[in-house]
C-alpha cells in the first residue's frame, strides 16, 4: 500500500488563518471526564486550536490558576494513561488541531516512545514540554517525534537572545510559542510596557516558523494585539478561571465569543 502523507492539522490551520485562537485547558478539570466535552464545546465556539494540559504536581512555569486546576485534576484521578483513554474518541468529536502540554517527568515515566505512539494513535498534532531543553530534545526525543509526525513546540521569552531565537527557529516545527513577558502563566495581564517593542522585534526577525503569543492573553484586547504581531494567541489561565466559575457548554461558548468578536 502506498504511504499517505497527511498534513499535520497545525500546519493546515496556519494556511487558512493568521489570527489563530489556541485555548488551553487542564485535562480532567473541573471534572475527570470533562476532557472531550470541553474540547468539543471549544471547537463549536470557534477556537482554532486546543492545548490540553497534562497535570503535574510541580508545574514551575505555571502560576497559581493552572497549578490549582492541575492539583484538582490529579485529585480527580487524571494520569497520562487515563487521558489517552479519554482521547481515544477525540477525533470522533474534534477536527481542529490538538496539542498536549506537559512537564517532562510524567512523560519520561510513561516512556517517550510509547507517548509518541499514543499521541499519533489518538490524533494529537503537537506537544509542548516547557521543561525539556532544546539540546536534550534534539539528542534524545526528536527522532520519535519526527517519526510520528508530531510537532514539538519551543518557547521564547523577552530575554531569549537573538542567536538562540534563530537556533530555536531552526529546530522548530508547527509554531513558536512566544511568551509575552518575563513571567509564569497568568501572572501579568494587559499589554505591558515594552511588550509591543518586543513583539515587533520578533516580527521583524522574519522567522520561518509561525508564532503564537501566550501568557497574559486574557481578553479581546490582548488577543487582538497579539494577532497584529503574530499568527495568533494562546489563552490559558483566563479560560481556567472561566471553567472554575462555570464549565457549562453555554458558558464556554460565551467566553470564546467574548474574545473572537
Amino acid at each position: 500500500m502506498e504511504k499517505l502523507t497527511v498534513m499535520n492539522r497545525i500546519d493546515h490551520v496556519f494556511i487558512e488563518r493568521n489570527d489563530t485562537l489556541n485555548v488551553y485547558f487542564t485535562a480532567g478539570y473541573p471534572v475527570l471526564d470533562d476532557t472531550i466535552s470541553v474540547a468539543r464545546s471549544l471547537e463549536e465556539a470557534g477556537a482554532d486550536m486546543l492545548e490540553i494540559g497534562i497535570p503535574f504536581s510541580d508545574p514551575v512555569a505555571d502560576g497559581p490558576t493552572i497549578q490549582e486546576s492541575s492539583q484538582q485534576a490529579l485529585e480527580n484521578g487524571m494520569t497520562i494513561e487515563v487521558l489517552f483513554g479519554q482521547l481515544k474518541s477525540l477525533r470522533e468529536h474534534v477536527t481542529i488541531p490538538v496539542l498536549l502540554m506537559g512537564y517532562v517527568n510524567p512523560i519520561i515515566q510513561y516512556g517517550i516512545e510509547r507517548f509518541c505512539d499514543k499521541c499519533a494513535e489518538v490524533g494529537i498534532d503537537g506537544v509542548i514540554v516547557p521543561d525539556l531543553p532544546m539540546q536534550e530534545y534534539l539528542d534524545h526525543y526528536e527522532a520519535n517525534f519526527k517519526e510520528k509526525g508530531i510537532h514539538n513546540i519551543f518557547l521564547i521569552s523577552p530575554n531569549t537572545t537573538e542567536t538562540r531565537i534563530r537556533e530555536i527557529d531552526e529546530n522548530s516545527s508547527g509554531f513558536i510559542y512566544v511568551v509575552s513577558s518575563s513571567s509564569i502563566t497568568g501572572a501579568k495581564t494587559g499589554v505591558q510596557e515594552g511588550q509591543l517593542a518586543y513583539y515587533q522585534r520578533i516580527q521583524e526577525m522574519k522567522l520561518k516558523n509561525r508564532r503564537l503569543i501566550g501568557f497574559g492573553i486574557s481578553d479581546k484586547e490582548t488577543y487582538q494585539t497579539a494577532c497584529k504581531y503574530a499568527d495568533g494567541a494562546i489563552i490559558g489561565s483566563a479560560f481556567i478561571k472561566q471553567l472554575k466559575n462555570d464549565a457549562s457548554d453555554s458558558a464556554i461558548k460565551e467566553f470564546v465569543k467574548g474574545i473572537k468578536k
Partner: protein, 394 residues
C-alpha cells in the same frame, strides 16, 4: 577525567543537566558561562577565603571523638561543621553565592528554605552584603519552624509563604523558581543544596568542598595520611555530603557512606529514603532520583528532620548510588534520635537531627578497630531542641 565529578555538559553519569523552562534559560546560561571564571579568580578566592576564616570561623576543627570511638570500636573523627556561624555548613555556600551574585551585578537575592537553615544562612549573608533578600518557605514549614522565620526577619529578610501544592520545601523551591522567571534581570537565586539545574549542583559542591579540603590537611597532621578509610554524611539534597566527599570522589580507597532519612521506616509510607523508594526522573531542573508515583507525580516525603525532608537527591549522589561508588543507608527517626542523644552524652555535643542520621550509621555498620572514619557533623542541635524535648527519652 573524573569518573564521579561533573562532566563538561553538566552531567554526573546519566544524571544532572538543566531541565528548565526557556524563561529561565538566560539566567542559568549567564551563570553557567561565568561561574567557573569568577570562582577561580584570585579576587574571588581572596574574599571568599577571608570571609570563611574571619566570619564563618573556618577551618572548623577535626575532632577525635575518643569516647564515641571506644563505644563503636573504631577511630572516629568529627568534622565540626556545627561550629560554623549560623550553626551549620549551609553558610559556606551562601557566602560563595552572594560573592558570585555581586560580581554578576545582581542586586537582589531569593532563596527557598525548608526548615529555615538555608533561609537563615542566606538572610545572614544578605545582611552582611547589604542586599535585598526574599526567602520562600512553605506555609506549613513556617508554622513548624517559627523561630527561624523570626531569625530571618531580624536579619532583614522578607519571608514569603509558599501556599501552593503541599506547602513545604518542594513548593518553596517551585515558588522561588517562578519568582526568578518573573524577575530575571536583577535577581540571583541562591539554591541551598547540590540540586537544581546545572551549574548549581557543581557550584554548590565546589563551595562546600572546603570541608573535604580541610579534612585532608587536618588528617595529615594527626594521622600522617590525607585520606580516611570512610567518610560518613547525611543526605537530604546532599550539600554537606557533596562537600565532605568532594576531594575523595575519585580516590576509591576512600569508602563514601551516605545516610538518608527513612522517617518512620522505608515501608511506612512516611519516609524520605530517596534511593530506596525513588526512581530516575526530573525534579527542580535536573535529572536525578526522586520519590514519585507510577504516573510521575512528585511524592511528599517525611522525616523528623526537616533538612532531610526532600523528595530528591542531588544528581552527584544519584550517580554515586547508581555507580555503586557510595554506600547508602536509610536511617529511621528513632535510630537518629538515639544516635543524637548518644553523642550528646558521650561527647558533650548535641547534633542537629540531620547529622544524627549520619551518626546512626555507626550502629548499622561495623568498622575495623584501626580504620579511620570521618563523620561530617553538619549542624548543631540548638534548632532541634523542641524535637529532642518532644522525643523525651534522654
Amino acid at each position: 577525567m573524573s569518573r564521579f565529578n561533573v562532566d563538561e555538559k553538566g552531567y554526573y553519569g546519566q544524571f544532572g543537566g538543566a531541565y528548565i523552562p526557556e524563561m529561565l534559560y538566560p539566567n542559568v546560561e549567564e551563570l553557567r558561562q561565568n561561574y567557573l571564571q569568577i570562582i577561580e579568580s584570585d579576587d574571588f578566592k581572596g574574599e571568599f577565603d577571608q570571609l570563611l576564616k574571619t566570619y564563618v570561623g573556618r577551618p572548623t576543627p577535626l575532632y577525635f571523638a575518643s569516647r564515641l570511638s571506644e563505644k563503636h570500636n573504631t577511630k572516629i573523627y568529627l568534622k565540626r561543621e556545627d561550629l560554623c556561624h549560623t550553626g551549620a555548613h549551609k553558610v559556606n555556600n551562601t557566602i560563595g553565592q552572594i560573592l558570585l551574585a555581586k560580581r554578576l551585578g545582581k542586586s537582589r537575592i531569593i532563596a527557598e528554605t525548608g526548615a529555615g537553615q538555608h533561609g537563615v544562612a542566606t538572610a545572614t549573608v544578605c545582611a552582611l552584603m547589604g542586599m535585598e533578600c526574599v526567602v520562600y518557605m512553605g506555609e506549613i514549614d513556617m508554622a513548624r519552624q517559627k523561630p527561624n522565620v523570626e531569625r530571618m526577619k531580624i536579619l532583614g529578610a522578607e519571608v514569603r509563604p509558599a501556599s501552593s501544592g503541599s506547602k513545604t520545601l518542594k513548593d518553596a523551591t517551585n515558588e522561588a523558581m517562578r519568582h526568578w522567571i518573573n524577575n530575571p534581570d536583577d535577581t540571583h537565586y541562591i539554591i541551598g543544596s547540590v540540586v537544581g539545574p546545572h551549574p548549581y549542583p557543581d557550584m554548590v559542591a565546589r563551595f562546600q568542598s572546603v570541608i573535604s579540603a580541610e579534612i585532608q590537611s587536618q588528617l595529615q597532621e594527626v594521622e600522617g595520611r590525607n585520606a580516611p578509610d570512610h567518610v560518613i554524611a547525611c543526605v537530604g539534597g546532599g550539600s554537606n555530603a557533596a562537600g565532605a566527599f568532594y576531594h575523595f570522589l575519585d580516590d576509591e580507597s576512600v569508602n563514601l557512606i551516605a545516610s538518608e532519612a527513612a522517617g518512620e521506616g522505608v515501608a511506612s509510607g512516611r519516609s524520605a529514603a530517596t534511593t530506596t523508594l525513588g526512581k530516575p526522573g526530573v525534579l527542580h531542573g535536573s535529572k536525578t532520583i526522586l520519590m514519585q508515583t507510577d504516573d510521575g507525580q512528585v511524592v511528599e516525603p517525611y522525616s523528623i528532620s526537616a533538612g532531610l525532608d526532600y523528595p530528591g537527591i542531588g544528581p552527584m549522589h544519584a550517580h554515586l548510588f547508581d555507580a555503586g561508588r557510595a554506600e547508602f543507608y536509610s536511617i529511621t527517626d528513632e535510630e537518629a534520635m538515639i544516635a543524637g542523644i548518644e553523642l550528646s552524652k558521650l561527647e558533650g555535643i548535641i547534633p542537629a537531627i540531620e547529622s544524627a542520621h549520619a551518626l546512626a550509621v555507626l550502629e548499622n555498620r561495623r568498622f575495623e578497630r584501626d580504620e579511620v572514619v570521618v563523620l561530617n557533623l553538619s549542624g548543631r542541635g540548638d534548632k532541634d531542641l523542641e524535637t529532642y524535648i518532644k522525643w523525651g527519652k534522654y
